[in-house]
């Protein structure tokens, strides 16, 4: 067992020990349920097809800015960060005084204090009772009686809403209030678009089911951090298939270098390998992530999450709102290497 395995196993044991005992089966709840007829096979197949189509639609829409598709030598991290190449505060995501803006989030209305409107709980892996907003804006004109999941505790009203209004100096003057949106999907960074398909042609017309040594490949890539960054698995014939392909990021490779790296890796580790171009090495991307984390440590910058899959996508930066001043700070890190996702967005 490796050190990482032990740390994970320890964390799991500790977490399990802290869990309350499971509930007893509620027989009354069972008794209220009736038999559900078994769905005919044809209808089941149709339903599965519809579900698959829906999942594909949701997934294709959930990678906010990546547009990479299957090609022989794609660039994994140059395909569409949200605010790339828009110098001088010209990004459509920058929020300025007087702009109309909209977001769905948490509302806190404590007696005698201005109403706060902020992103929903930014800690999805923990159950937590949030007692105050972290970041966000002051909201003027909210109707607390119309909040989604409204709760009233000792005079403090909390709930969720979608609010649209005019932003000025940290305050949103609400013009429209609606129910909170229902985000679909497990929270967390989704699979980079480049890994949703296998972005290389198979070596001899068809990928084979040959086994590969994932650890050996990882070791090799780590020994060459300036050449390689990012390693992921794709399933060219679907996730139910045993055939997998290892996708490796090659730093700033031109087509010839990409082909050379592919030959090198296939010679060492087998044919089920694919190479794609990435724009930063691992040390460079870690430096980018570190710089973004440094900004996150100052609450005034409004950043509530930094991270995402290394290698195949720019570093995710989740921020409550992107003011021109914050945009300037993030520009110093390098906008092409960041995937900035503001919570409160201007409505253009």
């Amino acid at each position: 067992m490796t050190d990482l395995d032990e740390r994970l196993a320890d964390a799991g044991r500790t977490w399990r020990a802290q869990q309350p005992p499971p509930p007893e089966p509620d027989l009354a709840r069972l008794a209220r349920r009736r038999w559900r007829p078994i769905v005919p096979v044809a209808a089941s197949v149709l339903a599965v097809a519809v579900v698959v189509a829906t999942v594909l639609l949701v997934r294709s829409g959930s990678d906010r800015h990546s547009t990479a598709t299957a090609t022989k030598s794609p660039s994994a991290t140059s395909s569409g960060p949200s605010v790339t190449g828009m110098p001088g505060g010209q990004s459509p995501l920058v929020l300025r005084d007087g702009d109309t803006a909209e977001a769905s989030g948490q509302v806190y209305a404590a007696r005698g204090k201005p109403v706060q409107f902020c992103p929903q709980n930014p800690a999805p892996t923990f159950s937590s009772s949030v007692t105050a907003c972290r970041g966000g804006v002051t909201a003027v004109g909210v109707d607390p009686s119309r909040l989604t999941d409204r709760q009233d505790s000792d005079g403090t009203i909390t709930g969720r809403a979608t609010l649209r209004g005019v932003y000025r100096a940290g305050t949103l003057r609400v013009t429209t209030q609606g129910p909170a949106s229902q985000t679909v999907g497990f929270p967390g960074p989704d699979l980079p678009a480049i890994l949703r398909t296998t972005p290389c042609a198979p070596p001899s017309g068809r990928w084979t089911g040959q086994p590969y040594n994932n650890t050996a490949i990882g070791d090799y890539l780590r020994r060459h951090p300036d050449r390689f960054n990012g390693m992921g698995t794709t399933y060219p014939y679907g996730q139910g298939s045993a055939v997998t392909v290892i996708v490796v990021g090659v730093v700033r490779a031109d087509p010839a270098q990409l082909s050379q790296a592919l030959t090198e890796l296939r010679t060492r580790f087998g044919d089920n390998i694919c190479t794609v171009r990435v724009d930063q090495s691992l040390p460079e991307q870690q430096a980018t992530e570190h710089a973004a984390l440094q900004l996150m440590h100052d609450p005034a910058n409004g950043i509530f999450a930094v991270g995402g899959p290394i290698g195949f996508r720019p570093i995710d930066v989740s921020i409550d709102l992107l003011t021109p001043q914050r945009y300037a700070k993030l520009s110093q890190i390098g906008l092409p290497h960041l995937l900035i996702e503001p919570w409160l967005k201007p409505v253009r």
């Binding site: 320890d10 964390a11 999805p124 497990f186 699979l191 390693m231 997998t244």
Partner: protein, 159 residues
Amino acid sequence: MDAGAPATADEFADWVRPHLAAMSRLAARFAPDADRDDVVQEAMARAWTKRRQYDPARGQPSAWLLAITADQAAKARRRSRRAPAGVPDRPAADEDARMDIERALARLTTRQRQAVDCVYFVGLTVAETAAVMGCADGTVKSTLADARNRLRTLLEVPR
């Protein structure tokens, strides 16, 4: 119903009971902001209504029940508060080590985190994890390998 799920509610409760701890842990990991016990009870109710569809030739009861629990947790999660991937606030000192891991887990892809949650936190086998994630055993293994590679970088664990 021979060898399948029991026909009476009492028998069904006895049949489910050995798997309740794992179902509860799965609900807690997959829908942390939802009412864990409600998710589990709803999963049991769903399993009860679908019990004639359980086929022991296709898998263990645990895998079938856990897959239903994962489905109910997904529904509960959509109903409850959600957020983009985030980093928890500064933890108490005695939770630092576990919190480091939780913070790192929040930076994995959805599938990677599900695999780590199932195997290390819920304590499932690879086969049970495959049932929960709706994929092959090999896919679980490769997803775990990808997750470990990413976690080694995030947690700066030497090889």
